[in-house]
Amino acid sequence: MRAGARLLAVGWLFHFKMLSRSAFDGLLGVMWPLFFATVAFFMFRAGGGEETLLYASLGAAVMGIWSVTSTSAGAAMQRERWQGTLEVLVASPAPFALVLLPVTIAMTTIGLYCLVATLIWGRLLFGIDLHVVHPLLFALSIPVAIVSIGTFGFLMAVAFVRYRFAWALGNVLEYPVWLICGFLVPLTLLPDWVRPISWLLAPTWGIRAIRQSALGGSPLPDIALCVALAGLYTLVGVLVLETALRAARARAALSLT
């Protein structure tokens, strides 16, 4: 148990360090949230008051976290495969879930920057008041949202390990999730049949928790749902991972050579 926790922590730090040293990912990471935030601010400013702008600002922040996770998770797995490290990771005796999970959580942590940058950008350029109604719950909802999105990334990474071309899936999922999870548009505006899909996606509850704690409301049920979904994603990922790995070994999908 202790060794597992240590491996998670060391893996997270290692991959976080590596991701933060990529000039390409770094530039994207810096620019993306600012673009998202600017578009969202202009859209919502036309609509009304200060509270709506903070609503948009928080939505844009989680858009950034999600985009970093969905696109980077696929790209990172492909990079592991390309640079030959995926085989080295699989050939180690450590349970592969404990190797893979910190990779995706590290990516989502980079998304923390998105949140901070978006809020500062909104404050400086658009004068948005950053008054938070429940500061403690706000502080709790952020890491919970990040970890739950990270575990969703973990679930996607399992598919990326098994299928060489699954990395493209991350890009495909990026924009639909913005809509389905209510980052910019309230879920009540979407067709009824979309809602069950939204409920299964952790970002839906992540953004709700952050908004409820910032704008006033009861974020605890949303936080609880985020934690439950994170647990579910991890459980499913761990259960499927060994089968996916075995299939990858049978079909020679771990390397490009």
Partner: protein, 323 residues
């Protein structure tokens, strides 16, 4: 009990061709390989590119599941007991891939030490010891992307030995290294068996297998075509002779015509500056020089010599005959 046992290993890859009309193809990379490696032995799998060496080693280190056949390492099945096998083996492959280039050598070694379950308090001294062994002491804090190819290769070796495994697999470890770097790495490899480790090495360098290995299996087209000590393999060709003919522009079809001569065991061509050298292996008591020249259709011929065969000739004959 042998440390490594491979029994009738087969591995087939499925691949596709075409864009619109996709066609599925099956490539048989390994076709029934059987061998044993004993404790403390340095065993070589020798063969040309594409012979099936890397596929074989990947099945033994649990990265590929054999299509059929079985393999055991230290008594553990490579498919059913993959985790037990992984705990006890080290794996080093050649080339520049397999390390995180944006981070330092030290970062890489610390991370892999955790993955291989090296106890926390032992990590630092173990890394220090390995940095000394592979000659990276003093450079460990630099980013790997700034390392030379030889340094990256030595980092691979250190990574593969972090958990002090009793069995080490080395897949073409000296590929692309300069002669001095390759010689230093070969000395490190030789020292592994002195410390009691069992080593399986793949290479396509004849002299490397000769210099390092206790026993060699020559692999070609996915099958073992000969095995034994380097001395055994040499003995197989010592009763022969080699005729070398320097030619300035080999006529089309000449090599095939020479190959058809009675008594010819193997034919190969080496490029040497402006000329090519036709190397023909024959039995010792057969004189074929005139017959060979007769098959060259009046080509511009330079120096002609006859010599005793070397281990490299044995390798060329074995690999050539399987094609």
């Amino acid at each position: 009990m042998a440390v490594i046992e491979a029994r009738d290993l087969h591995r087939t890859y499925k691949t596709t061709t075409g864009t619109i009309r996709r066609r599925s193809l099956q490539v048989e990379a390994v076709r029934g390989i059987t061998f044993d490696v004993e404790k403390g032995e340095l065993f070589g799998l020798l063969g040309p590119n594409g012979a099936g060496k890397t596929t074989t080693i990947k099945m033994l280190i649990t990265l590929l599941i054999p299509t059929s056949g079985s393999a055991r390492v230290l008594g553990y099945d490579v498919v059913k007991d993959a985790r037990e096998v992984r705990k006890r083996i080290g794996y080093v492959f050649g080339g520049e891939r397999g390390v995180y280039e944006r981070l330092s050598g030290l970062d890489n070694l610390r991370y892999f030490a955790e993955l291989y379950g090296v106890p926390g308090r032992e990590i630092r001294p173990r890394i220090e010891e390995l940095l000394e062994l592979v000659g990276l002491k003093g450079r460990e804090k630099e980013r790997v992307e700034g390392y030379s190819r030889g340094m990256k290769q030595r980092l691979h070796v250190a990574r593969g030995l972090l958990h002090d495994p009793p069995v080490v697999f080395l897949d073409e470890p000296t590929i692309g290294l300069d002669p001095v770097g390759a010689r230093e790495l070969r000395a490190t490899i030789a020292s592994l068996t002195e410390g009691g480790k069992t080593v399986l090495l793949t290479t396509h360098y004849m002299f490397e297998a000769d210099a390092l290995c206790d026993r060699i299996a020559v692999i070609a087209e996915g099958d073992i075509v000969a095995h034994g000590t380097p001395g055994d393999l040499k003995a197989g060709v010592e009763e022969g002779a080699v005729v070398e003919v320097e030619i300035f522009g080999i006529p089309e079809g000449a090599v095939d015509r020479v190959r058809e001569l009675d008594g010819v065991r193997a034919v190969s061509v080496e490029e040497r500056e402006q000329a090519q050298v036709l190397i023909v292996q024959t039995p010792a008591d057969v004189e074929l020089t005139h017959a060979i020249l007769g098959r060259l259709n009046g080509a511009n011929v330079g120096r002609i010599s006859r010599r005793e065969p070397t281990l490299e000739d044995a390798y060329v004959a074995l690999v050539g005959n399987s094609e």
